[in-house]
């Protein structure tokens, strides 16, 4: 993570929040395409919440379908992107727990996951770090506790403007001015040798 390299470009925070709020408002009026865009936008986050909770791919798919169908009954009370993200995260976690406690098969921790570096394949975002750096990062994640792996995996998919709304829900500590780094990210940075100011020695 070299500070001089370009940061991955993302839509600016207010821009994205406004866009989601507009989509929510259109979906409330029955716009199917707007609802579809919301589904496309948030489903990857929900997928990783369900999978990080130990569900099989089939169970994770069922949970996502249930969550989105339930959203329809709650959509009218939602105004902002943050409220939407918060509701989706909470409901997905709850549904995932429900499926697990119903005694359906629960996967053992995937110990194989971190042995091979995932292939980002063509079409992934521009590479701002080298393969060696990615490998180091992946191995470092694999050395964290299961709890930290789950937490980092999920928060990595939370859109930045929605952090504050979902941080506490996810077990991320919240300081006086918003979410703080927390034990898991601090541990990861220590493993990678990144100092508190974000620079590398």
């Amino acid at each position: 993570m070299d500070d001089r390299k370009p940061v991955t470009v993302r839509a600016s925070q207010p821009e994205r929040s406004e866009r989601i709020a507009r989509l929510v408002s259109a979906a409330q009026k029955g716009d199917e395409d707007a609802l579809g865009e919301i589904v496309t936008e948030f489903s990857p986050m929900l997928w990783h919440i369900a999978r990080a909770a130990g569900l099989s791919t089939g169970d994770a798919e069922d949970v996502l379908q249930t969550v989105w169908m339930r959203l329809l009954a709650h959509l009218d009370g939602i105004r902002t992107s943050a409220a939407l993200a918060g509701w989706l995260v909470t409901t997905t976690k709850r549904e995932a727990w429900r499926v697990r406690s119903a005694g359906r098969k629960q996967l053992p921790a995937d110990t194989e996951l971190f042995t091979a570096l995932p292939d980002p394949g063509p079409g992934s975002e521009e590479q701002v770090i080298t393969d060696d750096q990615r490998r180091a990062l992946w191995l470092a994640i694999g050395r964290l506790s299961e709890r930290c792996q789950e937490l980092l995996r999920v928060i990595a998919f939370v859109p930045r403007p929605d952090y504050a709304a979902v941080a506490a829900e996810l077990g991320m500590p919240v300081g006086s001015i918003g979410p703080t780094r927390g034990r898991c990210l601090a541990k990861l940075r220590a493993l990678l040798g990144i100092d508190p100011e974000g620079s590398l020695a």
Binding site: T40, T66, P118, G198
Partner: protein, 163 residues
């Protein structure tokens, strides 16, 4: 990503900085590559949501199991639960590549039952034992809708499933 030889320990109490966000961006890319969401899942979810204007009761998938059948094709039984009823279906493969779906409603009741598929929708009625059957359903995404017994009742819908 070299190792610092000095430097203090990164503090957990600090606010998230750009480095944290970049790490999270990379973590997202890695998990996206390691365990991708099925590419067609959002499309299937949109299919399920197309019933949104109905006043519906959502049935949850509670159990799914493969059962041994004659021949190579396996059968599946799937159970859905909603507040007002349980729907159990058994899916078998027909020789012509379509699927046969036998179902039971509990408590037993006569209802109109619709099977929505990508192409169109099929409709049958359950008997007083709550049994119903779709002899030939095209393979692909499908969703069951149990119509209300009375005008003002609610439909019960299942999540979309792949036949």
């Amino acid at each position: 990503m070299t190792h610092s030889d000095a430097g203090g320990r990164p503090s957990a109490e600090q606010s998230l900085d750009e480095t944290d966000f970049r790490l999270l961006d990379e973590i997202r890319e890695l998990f996206q590559a390691a365990d991708p969401m099925p590419a067609d899942l959002p499309e299937r979810i949109r299919f399920s949501l197309a019933l949104r204007d109905l006043e519906v009761e959502v049935a949850r998938l509670v159990e799914q199991e493969a059962v041994a059948a004659r021949g190579q094709e396996q059968s599946r039984t799937i159970t859905f639960d909603s507040d007002s009823m349980t729907i159990m279906i058994r899916i078998d493969a027909n020789r012509d590549g379509t699927a046969r779906v036998d179902g039971w409603l509990a408590p037993p009741q006569r209802r109109e039952i619709e099977m929505k598929t990508a192409a169109d929708s099929l409709s049958v009625a359950s008997d007083e034992q709550g049994r119903f059957a779709f002899a030939r359903v095209p393979r692909g995404t499908a969703q069951l809708v149990v119509r209300p017994a009375e005008q003002e009742g609610r439909s019960v819908v299942t999540p979309a499933l792949i036949l």
